[in-house]
Amino acid sequence: MTSLILRRLGIGLITVLAVSIIIFFGTKILPGDAAQIRLGQEATEANVAALRERLGLDQPVYMQYLSWLMNFASGDLGTSLSSDVPITNLISDRYQNTIIVSTLTALIGVPISLMLGIMAAMYPGSVYDRILTFISVSLVAAPEFFTATLLVLIFVFALGVGNAVVVGSADGKGFFELLAHFALPITTLSFVIASQLIRMSRAAVLNVMNSPYIEMAILKGVPRKRIIFRHALLNAIGPIVNVVALNLAYLVTGVIVVEIYFGYPGLATLIVQGVQTRDFVLIQGLGMIFCMTYVVLMLVADIAAFVSNPRLRHPK
């Protein structure tokens, strides 16, 4: 067990290193460098050169990579090329927002969707199952901005509750105040992840339900609820945890549409702004944070799968 986890950790570390190379050199391919973009339409050759030198962009690329990697390992994300502010300053507020929104969404969205999905698997083909399938498939098809627009129209403009845009800081707010503060983004995101989670948990449980040992349990006369929760669910945990982990990673890194629509600063918008301003240091730092989020979440998912499934612990 320990060696398995260690091996997964090792693979994770190699992944992070590989990604760091891709991120670093990938950002160098973008046309125009930070000095050029920062000066924008106003750029002249002379002030571009002056700024380039000040930002250290005149060093060889591999030197830039090595010093960056060493700094990153020691927790120094560097200084933004476009504003001379430490990256950690740029990230802190947004990281907080992102973590709050994704945690609250996960706390609300994940248990509800799993319950709904498992219940659908309990009575496959029932009216409840069909309605749920219909709704979740429609939700998969609805893009985030559509759901968000609909929610704003209904809640803000028709009912007059909630904020069209999340203005103001989350600092010093309690749990319920935060829920109110981010109500619409959380609802939108819950809809987005719910559809996938419902479909996947239903499928995973149903899949197990077709195996011979469940058939045996049914023949023994075990009640359906007990079969699902005692016999089937443990074996379905692996795939379900995987989907949950992927969705959580998405909540941290990929909710750009929701962030922009509700106008609150988060990590996903920041990386897009980083690309637009060719702020390589920022892109690299964020890229690494995103990569590590994925790696950690997948590691947790794998460990959960090991724990729930003895066959994975003792491969032939």
Binding site: I37, E42, S82, L90, P265, T277
Partner: protein, 543 residues
């Protein structure tokens, strides 16, 4: 000082052109006598004129109320937001600059200047030596007194070839700055510049403290001090109690970035923010229909254009670019794309928003017949002419599409290639043979033409190089005779209109939206939010 609002009912009794004129006069702070003369000239009775004038003058008597908090929603914002005045690039930077800093001079709505940190501005007869007598008793936010050393440090950051300043081109004619005493500095110029105090009133010349190198916060002399600054998120200013002048009426002024225009509009309509920049033209009627929400529009010299490079094979063809100019459906662009919030362009950058505008140049209009004549002369036949466009400003792409459609009717084949705005200024603009651009207004005609039309200017889009033009542009800077100055500026504008080659179909207004409870709006036509001059004067009526 603004005496009345655009939608004042009494204005409805006047004809459209008179109304516009009156609004413009009003914005530029003309005297009561000028307004009355103009109104009576327009056929209004003395009594009616007086009623109109006193009705509207009443608005001006509203004394600002202290207190309250406003949230102003910006658009462009990101990790490159900065508090270093020399590196300002966006409207958001300019606005914050005004909150936190002061400058030697302050621009007025008519693009003149009034003294700010300089109490008195003097020059010698040929405008080559400028003396600034500095205001005494001005305090920085950290309590330090403002002196000549701060001015010298600030100004020297814009000087020299290795300056990273975005505005160094405005002060290249300054040879050196000298300290006369603690409260007097002098600029010695290598060539005359009668407009120097205006240039120094613009965004980048905000006074920073002597020796400042760290701009994570702003220690200035402005009406608000930094309470919070997070690049790409928000800036909050708290009233600076020791501000030397009038202004800074709010307890707190927040500047919050909402990049997406739909989200910004939602936030504004829902009342989450008090004002928003860059109202999309489509939403103008929507905002006008809501009680308590107003349009905050400034007629400006900002423009979109299509520039052919005169140093390249195909695009140097004179008949090609003449045809392009004749193919611009200017009326339709202003009405259709800008919903009237713009004005016709005349293929030269200096429109009526500038002091030195020349009204004598005939307006160029859509003229398919002349265009066809030029097109046939060009010998291009059905050869595709590539035009690169990006959404750099409203109308930037449409001007190309309209031209393409009109072109089709006369057999011209424009191949409009739309590219992303990301990286446009670095990799397309000034490089492609024919491409679009968007320009902000500059404080004077001379600065605008020096930046983009002088033969050796870094941003000379068409590479047009006319010795007469270059020479005249320098001469006029020292011209003190008003008539001669006007004639020279007319000649300059005519030359661009006739020879430069670019099509400039439309000037766009700066169109923002603001709640009616927000007072103290400024109308300096250089940028959004009243030329970014409004932070000083904003106040809340319901505070």
């Amino acid at each position: 000082m603004s005496y009345f609002k655009r939608n004042d009912p009494t204005l409805g009794t006047l004809s459209h052109s008179d109304r516009e004129l009156l609004i413009k006069m009003n914005r530029q702070g003309v005297s009561r006598r000028d307004v009355l003369t103009m109104l009576m000239g327009a056929g209004a009775t003395l009594a009616a004129s007086n009623a109109l004038y006193s009705g509207v003058a009443h608005a001006a008597e509203n004394t600002p109320k202290m207190g309250g908090r406003l949230i102003m929603a910006a658009d462009q914002h990101g990790p490159n937001d900065t508090l270093d005045p020399a590196l300002f690039t966006s409207a958001a930077d300019y606005f914050r600059g005004r909150m936190f800093y002061g400058s030697l001079t302050r621009l007025t709505d008519s693009l003149g200047y009034e003294p700010e940190l300089a109490e008195e501005v003097l020059s010698n007869d040929d405008a080559t030596v400028w003396t600034f007598k500095l205001r005494k008793g001005v305090e920085f936010h950290d309590g330090k007194s403002f002196t000549a050393d701060d001015v010298l440090y600030t100004m020297n950051r814009h000087m020299g070839a290795d300056s990273v300043s975005n505005a160094s081109s405005l002060v290249t004619m300054i040879d050196r700055w000298e300290k006369v005493n603690d409260h007097e500095v002098r600029a010695v110029l290598s060539s005359p510049n009668a407009d120097l105090p205006i240039a120094l009133g613009t965004f980048h010349f905000k006074i920073v403290q002597d020796g400042t190198t760290d701009f994570q916060t702003a220690v200035g002399t402005g009406p608000y001090s930094v309470k919070e600054f997070k690049p790409g998120v928000r800036a909050i200013g708290a009233r600076f109690d020791n501000y030397w002048g009038e202004g800074g009426y709010l307890d707190e002024l927040e500047h919050y970035g909402i990049g997406d225009s739909v989200a910004r509009l939602n936030a504004f309509l829902a009342g989450n923010v008090d004002a928003m920049v860059n109202l999309p033209p489509k939403a103008i009627s929507q905002v006008e229909g809501v009680d308590g929400k107003e349009i905050w529009s400034l007629q400006s010299g900002a423009y979109v254009n299509i520039a052919p490079r005169l140093d390249m094979e195909q695009s140097s063809n004179m008949h090609l670019w003449k045809a392009m100019q004749m193919l611009q459906d200017r009326q339709r662009l202003v009405k259709g794309v800008m919903k009237g919030q713009g004005s016709l362009g005349n293929d030269q950058p200096i429109n009526a928003a500038y002091f030195d505008h020349c009204a004598d140049i005939p307006q160029r209009d859509l003229d398919p017949d002349k265009a066809k004549w030029h097109w046939d002369k060009s010998g291009l036949g059905s050869t595709a002419v590539p035009v690169t466009a990006a959404e750099v400003a409203p109308g930037a792409v449409e001007q190309c599409l309209f031209m393409q459609r009109e072109g089709k009717k006369i057999g011209a084949n424009f191949d409009v290639k739309k590219v992303t705005t990301d990286g446009y200024w670095g990799s397309v603009w000034l490089k492609d043979p024919i491409c679009v651009a968007s320009w902000n207004m500059r404080p004077t005609a001379n600065i605008m033409m020096t930046l983009a039309f002088e033969g050796n200017a870094a941003w000379n889009e068409t590479r047009w190089n006319n010795d007469n033009f270059n020479q005249l542009l320098v001469d006029v800077r020292g011209e003190t005779n008003a008539d001669a100055r006007k004639q020279k500026y007319c000649d300059l504008q005519t030359m661009i209109h006739e020879e430069n080659g670019m099509s400039l179909p439309m000037h766009r207004n700066y169109v923002d939206a603001v709640g009616s409870h927000v007072k103290g709006l400024t109308h300096v036509p250089l940028n959004n939010f009243g030329g970014a001059e409004s932070p000083v004067t904003l106040w809340r009526d319901d505070a």
